[in-house]
């Protein structure tokens, strides 16, 4: 799960880390009011994406009137950044923060190091730019310090980072405090990323967090009910949101063949084979191992609600998921909402005979496929026919 910058800043502050003064504003009036308490201030669009500055979503205001004007421009605009895709994201609120005079910018993050079953601090003295860019152009300017999930952050682990940043004495202590807090937050809240970019050295020689991004491990949200309210569904694809509400794993793509598959690997392979045979998948959809008839019905509804979908390919190899459950879900959904586009079904695995029988008895006009390749070819042909 992703959250906004203002929420990340609030969390970091709660962990005792240095952040600038900032006030959230949802209207130009609120931005103006916030600016009166901050003198020179920065108006920052709050969307779940990096690269906001380049896209025109971060502006400097010299007085409250200017803050009003800039906020009224930014709120409601659609920002297109490298990370949003061409459709962009609509800005619904801005963060008004004090303007900071900066001597130097750094990059810091804590993320998972799955290979070593640990976590890792990633740091670079080149702050402010995207870390992917630094990785591509100056990989030698990025350092990584592994941290144990058992012991947490050890003060000595701050040494290489301080050295890379050229910080000593009191500033080194400030850095270690920040690193320690980032790791603590990461471990306590089950994060998958805590990123500070930039961390800045201010004119009066202190470290301050100017921008932050925090992602959480979706699998661990059950034990952090306090994080649930940070979710902003406006930032999510509506189909992906609906799917997540039903524990379905769905990703929107730009093709016209809807896919309903069990298992992430088979779902990806299904996309691959469709593409390889010259078709275009409309989505990735893994109905998971423990799907109920109801869940399958929702999955089917999501596919049918996508206007780009010209045909549907159901590819099921039952293991934990039983074929009769899938079949019943498809039949229920089809009877309830009606199917106006061709549906190709390939069933194999646990309870396959029962499943095929349910489909047969339903009287629905489904196209049956003998295997995955056959199903992909039939779905592509049906989509071509239907889109004509």
């Amino acid at each position: 799960m992703k959250i906004h910058e203002y929420q990340a800043i609030t969390l970091l502050k709660a962990y005792g880390l240095p952040v600038p003064r900032g006030i959230l504003a949802e209207t130009p009036e609120e931005a103006k009011k916030a600016a009166t308490t901050l003198a020179d201030c920065v108006i920052k669009a709050q969307i779940h994406s990096g690269g906001r500055g380049k896209a025109g979503g971060i502006k400097l205001a010299k007085n409250p009137d200017e803050a009003y004007k800039l906020a009224s421009e930014i709120i409601g605009m659609t920002l297109v950044t490298k990370q949003t895709g061409p459709e962009g994201k609509r800005v619904r609120k801005v963060l008004v923060t004090e303007k900071i005079d900066v001597k130097k910018e750094f990059y810091l993050s804590v993320t998972g190091d799955n290979e070593h079953a640990g976590i890792v601090i990633v740091a670079s003295a080149d702050g402010g730019t995207e870390i992917e860019e630094t990785a591509a152009t100056h990989p030698e300017r990025i350092i990584q310090v592994p941290v144990s999930v058992i012991t947490g952050f050890q003060v000595s682990e701050g040494n290489p980072v301080a050295k890379a940043f050229g910080l000593t004495g009191a500033l080194k202590n400030e850095l270690i405090n920040i690193l320690s807090g980032m790791v603590k937050l990461y471990l306590e809240k089950d994060c998958s990323l805590v990123e500070i970019n930039p961390l800045v050295l201010t004119k009066d020689d202190h470290l301050l967090i100017l921008d932050a991004k925090i992602n959480f491990d979706d699998n661990a949200l059950f034990r952090h009910p306090e994080l649930a309210e940070l979710r902003d569904i406006n930032e999510e694809d509506p189909k992906e949101y609906k799917a997540s509400q039903h524990d379905l794993n769905y990703v929107t793509l730009d093709g016209n063949i809807g896919c309903l598959v069990n298992g992430a690997g088979l779902a990806m392979a299904t996309m691959d084979i469709i593409k390889n045979f010259g078709g275009k998948p409309a989505n990735f959809l893994d109905v998971g191992g423990s799907a109920t008839t109801e869940k399958v019905k929702v999955a089917f509804q999501i596919l049918l609600s996508d206007p780009n979908v010209d045909a549907i390919f159901i590819n099921i190899f039952g293991g934990i998921m039983k074929c009769d459950v899938i079949a019943q879900g498809v039949v229920d959904a089809a009877k309830e909402i009606g199917i106006s586009i061709p549906v190709v079904v390939r069933l194999e695995g646990t309870n396959v005979t029962l499943g095929r029988e349910i489909l047969k008895k339903s009287g629905l006009a489904l196209i049956s496929a003998s295997d995955m390749a056959d199903g992909a070819r039939k779905a592509i042909a049906a989509a071509k026919e239907a889109s004509r």
Binding site: I142, E195, N219, G263, G265
Partner: protein, 295 residues
């Protein structure tokens, strides 16, 4: 011969009274697996399909001398279940559960280092030695006893590979689903090592996917240490970038992790690549022919 499990493996089921646990216990028993007990806290004394239920793994091991365990308990409790099994002296733990928090698995991984337990999974279909022992959720009937080993990160894609081989009369020695989670027990390399050492396995299929570096590590191992031929399929060639991977995470893998990168690494290691999932069986047929291997 086979690897890790055979007809003598004695299995207990953790979470046996749950919906999935009870259903798959029956399926495993029907296949011929020696299921000797089940665990469900507070339900000792009950029977599930004729299998005695115990309160803890320790109790179950004492009463049944089980040496393997399969876990069907829900994600919030799965990490503790794995550690319980290891504490009780279980040698092979197969964790089917999907959705375990990453940090839980990181802690479990370190915990297991101090025990003799080996973990398969989590988020995996399990392991099967056809005709002898099925531990997990895979449909038994698609398998056929034979001499090709399979290692896979995906459940359903494993079945796909198995069926394609069986349909071509190519049986399997052992099939392992190592699981789709970023932090897991047995890796591709661990399983390849075991298959290379197993005299009854003549060739191996690996089913990989995008993310992580398990396939690249496998390629390095194959180039240096494998004499047996290997066939691979990597899924996710058409997956959009960055949808699932964290921001800084993509850097740490440093160019590793894409389907094409993995395919390239495996091909350079002499692995025969199936470019589409329907070609796994055919690619194995050709590879066996090319190496003059008769089954």
């Amino acid at each position: 011969m086979s690897i890790l499990v055979n007809k003598d493996t004695r299995v207990i089921v953790q979470g046996i009274t749950g919906r999935q646990g009870s259903f798959h216990t029956q399926q495993m028993v029907d296949y011929g697996t020696k299921i000797v007990g089940g665990v469900s806290p507070g339900k000792a004394g009950q029977m599930v399909g004729g299998i005695p239920v115990f309160n803890s793994v320790i109790d179950a091991v004492k009463a049944t001398s089980a040496n393997a365990s399969v876990i069907y308990v829900p994600a919030p409790f799965a990490a503790a279940s794995i550690m319980d099994a290891a504490d009780a002296g279980i040698e092979l733990i197969v964790c089917i559960t999907e959705g375990i928090p990453v940090l839980d698995m990181a802690r479990v991984k370190h915990y297991l280092e101090k025990t003799k337990a080996r973990l398969i999974g989590p988020n995996c279909p399990g392991i099967i030695t056809p005709g002898e022992c099925k531990i997990g959720i895979m449909p038994g009937y698609i398998h056929k006893k034979g001499h090709v080993g399979i290692i896979s990160r995906s459940g359903t894609l494993t079945y796909e590979a198995v069926k394609q081989l069986s349909d071509r009369n190519i049986g399997q020695s052992t099939v392992i689903g190592i699981g789709g989670d970023p932090i897991k027990g047995i890796s591709f390399v661990d399983a390849l090592k075991a298959f290379e050492a197993d005299p009854d396995t003549y060739a191996v299929v690996i089913n990989g996917e995008i993310g992580g570096s398990g396939e690249e590590d496998a390629a390095e191992f194959i180039a240096k240490h494998m004499k047996k031929p290997v066939v691979a399929f990597i899924s996710g060639q058409s997956a959009p970038k960055g949808k699932r991977m964290g921001h800084a995470g993509a850097i740490i893998s440093g160019g590793k992790g894409t389907a094409l990168g993995k395919i390239e690494a495996l091909r350079n290691a002499g692995v025969a690549i199936a470019m589409t999932p329907d070609m796994i069986g055919e690619t194995m047929v050709k590879t066996l022919e090319a190496h003059g291997i008769k089954l």
